[in-house]
C-alpha cells in the first residue's frame, strides 16, 4: 500500500514543459550527463572493453595462455554441452547463490536494525558487528572451522545437545555449500552498513506521523522502513548476486584441492581459475566466463524487471 503511494518511476517525465524547449533541454542534458559519467566511460574503454573483447575472441580459440591462440570456432561451446563438470559447477554455484542472496538480505537487514538501536554504547556494537567483515579471510575461516568441527566445535556440540545430527560440514558433500552460506553471513557487516546508512536516511517525521496514528513497531517496519529501504535492498540483491556467482576465495581456503570432496563444493570461478592457471586452457575458460557472464546478466535483468513492482525511489 505504502509502496504504491510513493512509487515514482525515475524514467518518467520531468513534468509538463513545452515540447520545443524540452528537446533542447534534452540535448543539453545529454551533454551534461555524458560529461558527468565520462570518467566511467574512459575507464570502461581502457580497463574493460579491451580485455573483454580479448575474452570473446579467445573463447573461439584453443589457447594455453602463453603461445599464440589457434582458431577453433565454436568447439569450446560444444565441449561445454558434454562437460559434466561444467554442469556440476553451474549447479553448485546457482545453488549456493540462490541460498546466499536471500539469506544475506535478511541477515544484513537484521544486523542493520541492531546497529540502529538507540542505546548509549551503540558505537561498540556496530564496530563489533562489522569486525568479521574486515578480518583477513583465512583468520575467519580458521575460526569457522574451529566452531564447526564435528569433534569438538561449539556449534556442532550444541547441535548434538539439542538433538540435531552432528554435521560434517566440509566432509559431507551435502553440507559444504550450506556451510559457505553460513560463513558468508559473518561478512554481512558490509551490507549492513549500507542498510544502516539507508535507515538513517529515513525522515523521522514519517515515524512520528505513524506513531500519532497509533501504529506499532511491526507496522512501522512494514509500512515505512521496508518500502523506504527498497532501493537499498535492490542494491544488495545485485551485489549479492555478483558476489555469490563469483564465490572463489573461501573455496580455496577451506577445501583442498578446491571444491573437495568429489567436486561437491567446486564453484564456477574456481573451475575457470583452475582451467587458466593449472590446465593451461584459457580458450575454454574464456568461453565458460562468457557463459557465466550471460547467465548473470539475465538473472540481473530478471531481478530489475521484478524490482519495478516493489522498488520505491524518492522520499515523499
Amino acid at each position: 500500500m505504502a509502496t504504491d503511494a510513493v512509487a515514482v518511476a525515475p524514467e518518467r517525465s520531468n513534468g509538463p514543459t513545452p515540447r520545443r524547449r524540452m528537446s533542447r533541454q534534452e540535448r543539453q542534458n545529454l551533454v551534461t550527463g555524458l560529461l558527468f559519467i565520462s570518467p566511467w566511460i574512459i575507464g570502461f574503454l581502457a580497463f574493460l572493453v579491451y580485455p573483454f573483447y580479448e575474452t570473446i575472441r579467445l573463447s573461439f580459440t584453443k589457447y594455453n595462455g602463453i603461445r599464440d591462440p589457434e582458431w577453433i570456432g565454436l568447439d569450446n561451446y560444444r565441449t561445454m554441452a558434454t562437460d559434466d563438470l561444467f554442469w556440476k559447477v553451474l549447479f553448485n554455484t546457482l545453488y549456493y547463490t540462490g541460498l546466499a542472496v536471500p539469506v544475506g538480505v535478511v541477515a544484513a537487514m537484521l544486523m542493520a536494525l541492531c546497529m540502529n538501536q538507540n542505546v548509549r554504547e551503540q558505537p561498540i556494537y556496530r564496530a563489533i558487528l562489522y569486525l568479521p567483515s574486515i578480518i583477513p579471510v583465512f583468520a575467519l575461516s580458521f575460526v569457522f572451522l574451529n566452531l564447526m568441527d564435528p569433534t569438538y566445535g561449539i556449534v556442532n556440540r550444541l547441535m548434538v545437545d539439542i538433538g540435531l545430527p552432528n554435521i560434517n560440514w566440509f566432509g559431507d558433500p551435502a553440507y559444504g555449500k550450506i556451510a559457505f552460506v553460513i560463513l558468508a553471513q559473518f561478512g554481512a557487516g558490509q551490507a549492513a552498513l549500507i542498510f544502516l546508512a539507508g535507515l538513517k536516511g529515513i525522515p523521522q517525521h514519517l515515524y512520528e506521523a505513524a506513531s500519532i496514528d497509533g501504529a506499532g513497531n511491526l507496522r512501522k517496519f512494514w509500512n515505512i522502513t521496508l518500502p523506504m529501504m527498497t532501493p537499498i535492498i535492490l542494491y544488495d540483491l545485485i551485489l549479492g548476486l555478483s558476489l555469490g556467482i563469483q564465490i572463489f576465495t573461501q573455496v580455496v581456503i577451506l577445501t583442498s584441492p578446491p571444491g573437495s570432496p568429489v567436486n561437491s563444493n567446486l564453484m564456477y570461478v574456481n573451475y575457470i581459475y583452475g582451467l587458466v592457471f593449472r590446465d593451461f586452457r584459457s580458450g575454454y575458460a574464456s568461453a565458460l566466463a562468457l557463459v557465466l557472464f550471460l547467465i548473470t546478466v539475465v538473472l540481473a535483468l530478471v531481478i530489475f524487471r521484478w524490482s519495478r513492482s516493489w522498488v520505491n525511489y524518492e522520499t515523499v
Binding site: P10, E11, E54, V119, R126, L292
Partner: protein, 299 residues
C-alpha cells in the same frame, strides 16, 4: 536524535504509582529489551576477532592443545614484536597506506560525480548505459587477469602502483550504483529549485546533493579503503620488487612454500596488527556518517 536519558526520569520524584510504572516500562523498553537481543548477537560476531587475538597471544606449545584453549594460558606480547620481524612490517605498512590513500581519493572523487550523471540528470539513453555499468560487475575476473596484465605491461605500469590505483579514478560499478541509489532517494525538488535559479549541475552536486550524502560517501570511502588495504591479487601480480610489497602479501610469508608449516600464532598476531588501523578507521568513520545523516535530516 536526542539521547533518551533514563536517569533524569528516574530521579524525578514520582507523583504516583502509575507514573513510576510507566517510567519503568519505558526504561525497560528502551534500555533493557534492546540489549537482551544485542548482547548475545554481538557476542557471536565478536568470536572470530576474539579468536584471532587469543591465538595471537598464545605461546607455541599451547597451539597444540586439543580442543583449543579459549583463554591463552599466558598473554605473550612478544608475539606481536616477533610478527613484525617476519617481513618488513613498517615498510609494507607505509606502502599499503600510500596505495590506500590514493584509492580512497580516487573513489571519493569519481564515484559521486559519475553517480550524479546517472541519477540527477535526465538524459536519453541514461538507463541503458547504467545497465551497462551494472553488467560490468558480472564479468568474472580470472579471465581478465592475463589481458589486463598485457595492457599494464604495454603501458610499462608493471612494478608501479599505477595498476592498483589509476582504475579507481574512473569509478567502480558497485560504488556508482550505491551512490546512485542514495542520490535517487533525495527529493527531486531539492535540485530543481537551484536549477531554476541558474545553478550549474556541478554546483548542485557539491552544494546540495553531497551535503545530503555524507553517509553514502563515507561508506564508499570505507569500502575503497578496505579494498585497497586487503587486496592481495593486485599487488601480487603487479608489484615485483620486495620493497614495494603490501601488508596483504606480507601476511602470506607466515606460511612456508612447501605448506607443511605455518607459524599460526605469529600469523594471527600480524593479522591483528593489520586489522587494527581498519578498526580505528571504522570507529572514526562511524561517527562521521551518522553525524552526516543528522545534518541532512534537518533540512
Amino acid at each position: 536524535m536526542a539521547k533518551s536519558l533514563p536517569l533524569d526520569t528516574v530521579q524525578q520524584p514520582a507523583r504516583n504509582e502509575t507514573a513510576r510504572k510507566a517510567n519503568w516500562r519505558r526504561f525497560a523498553r528502551k534500555q533493557i529489551v534492546p540489549r537482551l537481543f544485542l548482547i548475545p548477537f554481538v557476542a557471536f560476531f565478536l568470536l572470530p576477532f576474539y579468536w584471532m587475538v587469543a591465538v595471537a597471544f598464545k605461546p607455541i606449545p599451547e597451539l597444540s592443545i586439543v580442543p583449543p584453549t579459549f583463554f591463552p594460558s599466558e598473554w605473550r606480547w612478544a608475539n606481536f614484536a616477533d610478527a613484525t620481524r617476519v617481513f618488513p612490517f613498517w615498510q609494507y605498512f607505509q606502502n599499503t597506506l600510500v596505495i590506500t590513500f590514493l584509492t580512497v581519493l580516487g573513489a571519493a572523487i569519481s564515484n559521486p560525480i559519475i553517480a550524479y550523471g546517472f541519477s540527477r540528470i535526465e538524459w536519453p539513453g541514461r538507463d541503458k548505459i547504467f545497465a551497462l555499468v551494472l553488467a560490468t560487475v558480472f564479468v568474472p575476473y580470472p579471465v581478465l587477469i592475463v589481458s589486463l596484465y598485457d595492457i599494464y605491461s604495454r603501458l610499462d605500469w608493471v612494478n608501479t602502483i599505477l595498476p592498483l590505483v589509476v582504475p579507481l579514478f574512473f569509478g567502480n560499478a558497485f560504488w556508482i550504483f550505491l551512490m546512485r541509489q542514495f542520490f535517487m532517494r533525495i527529493p527531486r525538488e531539492l535540485g530543481e529549485a537551484a536549477r531554476l535559479d541558474g545553478a550549474s549541475e556541478i554546483r548542485i552536486l557539491f552544494q546540495i546533493i553531497l551535503p545530503q550524502s555524507y553517509a553514502a560517501i563515507s561508506v564508499v570511502c570505507l569500502f575503497a579503503a578496505l579494498h585497497a588495504w586487503n587486496d592481495f591479487l593486485g599487488p601480487y601480480l603487479y608489484l615485483q620488487k620486495e620493497d614495494s610489497y603490501t601488508l596483504a602479501i606480507g601476511l602470506t610469508f607466515f606460511r612456508s612454500a612447501s605448506q607443511y608449516d605455518v607459524q599460526y600464532n605469529l600469523l594471527m598476531a600480524a593479522s591483528a596488527l593489520v586489522v587494527l588501523p581498519v578498526v580505528v578507521l571504522f570507529l572514526a568513520f562511524q561517527r562521521f556518517f551518522i553525524e552526516g545523516v543528522q545534518v541532512g535530516s534537518f533540512k
